[in-house]
C-alpha cells in the first residue's frame, strides 16, 4: 500500500466535494475490492474518502412499488432484512451468496455496483430487476449503468447514493460459483414484471448483460421448460482455467432454468 490521504466524509455533499478534488481520490465503502487492490499496489489513489460515517447512505426502505436500498447497506443487512426478503427474495438470495460472512458484513451494494466486477452478483440482480441507480446528480437506469468490464456510467465526482428496485411479480437468482473465489462462473437473474420478463447474466461474459431471447421465451411461458433448447453462444463467453467458454455457455442455460424454478417457488 502506498501513502494516501484519508477523509471521513460527513455527508454526501462533503464526499462529492472531496471526490472532485485534484489527484486521484477514490471512494471507500466496504473496501472489499479496493483494499486488496491497494495492498497489491494495483490502485494508487491520492486520497480515500470513507463513506462509512454518512447515515443517509444506509438502510432499506420498502414501498408499495419499489424497495430503496442505500448505497452503503451491507450484503448482510440486505439479506437479513425480513421485509425485503418477502418482497424480492431474489435480491436476498443474491446478497447471501456473496463471498463469506466477513465480506457480507463489510461489502456494500453501492460499492459492488460502482465496481461492476464482471463476475459479481449484484450487477445481475440490478439489471435483471430493472433497478435504477440513484447518484448525487441523477437517476440512471440499470440498462444504461453497466457499460462493460469494471465500467459504469458514473462520471467523475459522481457517487451512488441509493438503488431503487421495482418489486417484481416474481424473480429468482441462481449462481454457479467459481470454486476458488465463489464469485459467479455463471449467475442468472430472472424476473417477471407486468411489462415482461427480464433475464440478466453475470460471470459468464465480459460484463453483465441481458438475454433477450430468453426473455421472449419467458414472456410466452414463464417456466423452466420454456428455456429448454435455448442456448447462448460460447463465442461470447469468458474462457479461462476455471471454466471453458462451452462450459460457461452451458451453465448459463442451467442457471437460467434454476432461477425460473426459484422464481416460481
Amino acid at each position: 500500500m502506498r501513502e494516501f490521504d484519508y477523509y471521513r466524509a460527513g455527508s454526501v455533499r462533503d464526499a462529492a466535494k472531496k471526490l472532485a478534488a485534484a489527484g486521484n481520490p477514490m471512494l471507500l465503502a466496504g473496501g472489499m475490492t479496493l483494499l486488496p487492490a491497494l495492498k497489491m499496489r494495483l490502485n494508487e489513489p491520492s486520497a480515500l474518502i470513507d463513506l462509512a460515517g454518512i447515515d443517509e447512505l444506509k438502510g432499506v426502505r420498502l414501498g408499495r412499488k419499489a424497495a430503496r436500498v442505500g448505497a452503503t447497506t451491507t450484503h448482510a443487512e440486505v439479506s437479513g432484512n425480513v421485509e425485503l426478503r418477502a418482497a424480492i427474495p431474489a435480491l436476498s438470495q443474491a446478497a447471501e451468496s456473496i463471498g463469506d460472512p466477513q465480506v457480507r458484513n463489510r461489502g456494500t451494494l453501492g460499492g459492488s455496483l460502482a465496481n461492476n466486477d464482471p463476475a459479481a452478483d449484484y450487477p445481475a440482480v440490478a439489471l435483471g430487476l430493472g433497478a435504477t441507480v440513484i447518484t448525487n446528480k441523477r437517476k440512471i437506469a440499470a440498462d444504461e449503468f453497466f457499460k462493460g468490464m469494471f465500467e459504469t456510467a458514473l462520471r467523475s465526482g459522481e457517487l451512488v447514493t441509493e438503488v431503487l428496485f421495482p418489486l417484481p411479480q416474481r424473480a429468482g437468482y441462481a449462481k454457479f460459483p467459481n470454486p476458488a473465489t465463489r464469485y459467479a462462473l455463471a449467475g442468472v437473474c430472472v424476473a417477471q414484471f407486468k411489462s415482461g420478463a427480464r433475464v440478466a447474466v453475470t460471470g459468464a461474459g465480459t460484463s453483465v448483460h441481458r438475454l433477450k431471447d430468453f426473455e421472449e421465451a419467458l414472456n410466452e411461458d414463464f417456466s423452466p421448460g420454456a428455456l429448454e433448447g435455448l442456448s447462448v453462444s460460447a463465442a461470447s463467453m469468458n474462457d479461462d482455467m476455471h471454466a471453458s467458454a462451452e462450459y460457461r455457455a452451458h451453465l448459463v442455460g442451467v442457471m437460467a432454468r434454476r432461477a425460473v424454478r426459484m422464481a416460481l417457488g
Binding site: M1, R2, M40, P179, A180, A243, S244, H250
Partner: protein, 798 residues
Amino acid sequence: MSGNRGIGAAAPRSEDRRFITGRGRYVDDINLRSQRYAWFVRSPHPHAEVRGVDAEQALRMPGVAAVLTGADLQADGIGPLPVAWGITSMDGSPAVEPEFPALATDRVRYVGNPVAVVIADTRAAARDAAEKVNVHYQELDSVSNAAAAMEEGAPQLHDAAEGNLCFNWEWLPSAMAPEARANTDRAFREAAHVVSLELVNNRLVPNAMEPRASLADFNPGTGQLTLYATSQNPHVNRLLLCTATLKMPEHKVRVVAPDVGGGFGSKIYHYAEELVVCWASRRLGVPVKWTAERSESFLGDAQGRDHLTRVELALDADARFTGLRVDTIANLGGWLSAFGPAIPTVFYAPLLAGVYKTPNIYVTVKGVFTNTTPTDAYRGAGRPEACYAIERIVDEAAAQLRMDPAEIRRRNFIPPDEFPYQSPVGQLYDSGDFEGCLNLAMELNGYAGFDQRRRQSEARGKLRGRGMSFYIEACGAAPSQAAGQLGARAGLYEVATVRVHPTGAVQVMTGAHSHGQSHETTFAQIVADRLGVDFGNVEVVHGDTGEVPFGMGTYGSRSLAVGGSALVKAIDKVIEKGRKIAAHLLEAAADDIEFSEGQFRVAGTGREVAFGDVALAAYVPHNYPLQELEPGLEETSFFDPENFTFPSGCYICEVEVDPGTGVVELCDFVAADDFGNLINPMVVEGQVHGGLAQGIGQALMEHCRYTPEGQLLTGSYMDYCMPRADDLPSFKVATRSTPTPFNPLGVKGCGEAGAIGAPPAVINALLDALRPLGVTHIDMPATPNAVWQAIQAAQAVE
C-alpha cells in the same frame, strides 16, 4: 496419577488456550529495537540472464539502509543453498546439483527467483525502494512442463543438465535392478491381463496458514546471531547456516522457531530469505526482519507433487498381481530444493508395493528441471504419488475384470501372519491387518447398502459412485544408516531431555517441533503416564537451539515414533536413577525397587517414596549415595530407530455427480487407519481430518498452474482453489491398531495419512459414478469444469 491425561486419553490440547486467546507468539509478533525490514526483488521472468542490478535510485529513497545483490553475496563468500539428499542415476553418475545462490548471480530460473534485497526502516519503504531497483534482464526461452522440457530443442536451464535431466533413476539399487527389471518384464510377458494408465499428479501449493517469516539479530558486540524463523527443524537450519551458507561457528548461532502456524513440509528447508536476512543483519549490525506476503508464499515456498506417470499392472488368471511397472517424470523446478531429488525417488519408489504381494516391481524416475518454483516435500511427500499410482491401477484392473474393488484388493493383500514382510522394493513392513481395516471401513460405509443409495441418487437425477483406496506409508524417518545408504546427508534420529525439577515438575526438551501437531499435549501425556506426575506439571520445550539438544525436527510423521521414543528412553533413565536414589532412601537394594503410579516401592512391602521426594533428594542430597551417584535428575536420550514405521489404512468415499453441471458432492467419507498405538485419539482424529481435507483438495480443487513458459497462473486464492469446511463432508474416522515392534511406544505416525489415501479414493469413486456414461479416465483436480468436459467428450464418442 495421570488421571484422564495419560497415554490413550483424548486430553484437550494445552496449546489451545494461548492460540485461541491470541497469545501465541509467532515470528512476526517479535520486534526488536533498531529492527529493519527486508523486501526482496524477485524475477518477473521464468528464465533470464541477469546482466546487472542498478540500485542507485533505490539507495536514494528515504529510509533505505542497503540494497544487496548476488554479487555482494559472492564477495562475502556466502555459500549456495545446500541439497540435503544425493541421488545416483542408473548409470552410476550423481544427480546434477547446480549451485543455487540465495540471490541470483547470473541467471534466474523461475518467476519469484530472488535477485536482490532492499533493507529499509519500514516494510513500505523497503518495498517502495525495491520498485526502483533496476535489474537488467536478458530474457531466455523457458518451459514449465517436465515432459516438454525433455523434448529435443527445449530451452536448457543448466549447462550441466543435458536435456534438463537432473537424474535418470531406477529402483531397486543398481546391483539388483537388472534382475528386478528382467523379472518384471517376464511377469508382463506371462500375464493373463495387463492394465495401464497415464496419470498426472497435480502440482500443489502448501499454503500454511502462517506465511514464512525470518528475523535475524546479529549482535556486533558479542558476535552472536539469533535467527527467529518459521522452521520445522531449527537445528538443521542452524547446521546448514553454519556449515554451508553463512559459515559461522555453531555456538555463535541460535535458531528459534517459536509458534509456527503450519508447515506441511514447506518450512523444512533452509531458504534464501532466511539466509539473506542473517547475512544482512551481520553486515549492517541491526536486526532485519522479513515476513512473506501471501503472494510470495505462492511464488517462493517449495511446491509439492507434479508427476507424470505411466503405471502398468500384470495379473494372472485369478486376478493376482504378478508385476508392476512404473515410469515417472518428476518436475523438480528451476533449482533443487533441499530434498527435491529425494521425494520423487527414495520417498516414492520403495512404497510402490502398496499393501499387496506383487512379487515383481520395477520403477524408473526421471527428475527434470523446469522454469518453475522448486518442488519438495509436501504432506505425504512421495507417498501420495505412490499410493495414487497403485490405487488407480488396481481399481482400473477391477473395472476391466468386472470385479468388486474390495475383492481384488482382498485377493492380493499381504496377510497378517506374514509380518514383518519384506517387500520387493526394499521395505520391511512392520505390522498390519489390511483385511481387518478393509472390513472396518466397509462396515462404517454400509457397503451392502450402496446399490440402494445409488438408486436413490438416480431418482434425484444424480450419478452415485463409490471408490476405495488402501494406502501404506513409511513414517518415522528414519533409521540413520538406512537413510544414509539412500543418500541422506544427515542422520535422522531424535533427541529428548527430561529435566526433573526439585519439586518434581518436569520439563521436556525435544528436538521435534510442533507447528500444529500438538506435541505440548501428547508428549506431556507420555510423561504423565510414565512418571505418574500430574499432566499440568509437565512442560514441553521445543524449537530453540539454545534450549534443546541437537535434534532433527518434524516432518514425515516422525515426531512421536522417533521423538516420542527418545522421550520414553530418557524417562526410563530418569526412573532408573530414581530407583537407585529411592533404594538409598528406603534402605533397600535397587533391584528390589519397583516404580509405578509415581511411587517407588520396596517390592512386597508397604515401604514407598514418592517421585517428587526422590527428585528433591536428588537436588538436596543431604541423605544421598554421593559415592555412587551424581546429584541431579536430568537425562537425555538419542533414539535412532531400527526401521521405519508403516501406517496403513482403507478409505472409502461416496460421491454424487450432477451430470448437468459436473459438480461432485462428497456424500460419505470413511477412514479406517492403522496408526499403531494412539497417545491422544482426539489429536489423531484432527490430524486425519486435516490430511483428508488436503487430499480431497488435491483430488477436486487444488492445482498450481503455470503457462507453458512458466508464468504462475494461480498466484493467489482468486485462482488457486483451497478447500473450505463446507466443501467437505463429516468424516467417519476409526482406527484398528497393530502396534509396530520397532519403537517402545508401538506408534506409527498419523500426520500425512489423509493426504495420501484420500486422492485415489475420491477419483475412484468419481470414475465409478461416471463409467456408465463412458468416462474411464479423469485427472486431478476433477473440477466441475473437468468433469463436465469429460462427460461431454465421452458422450460425443458414443
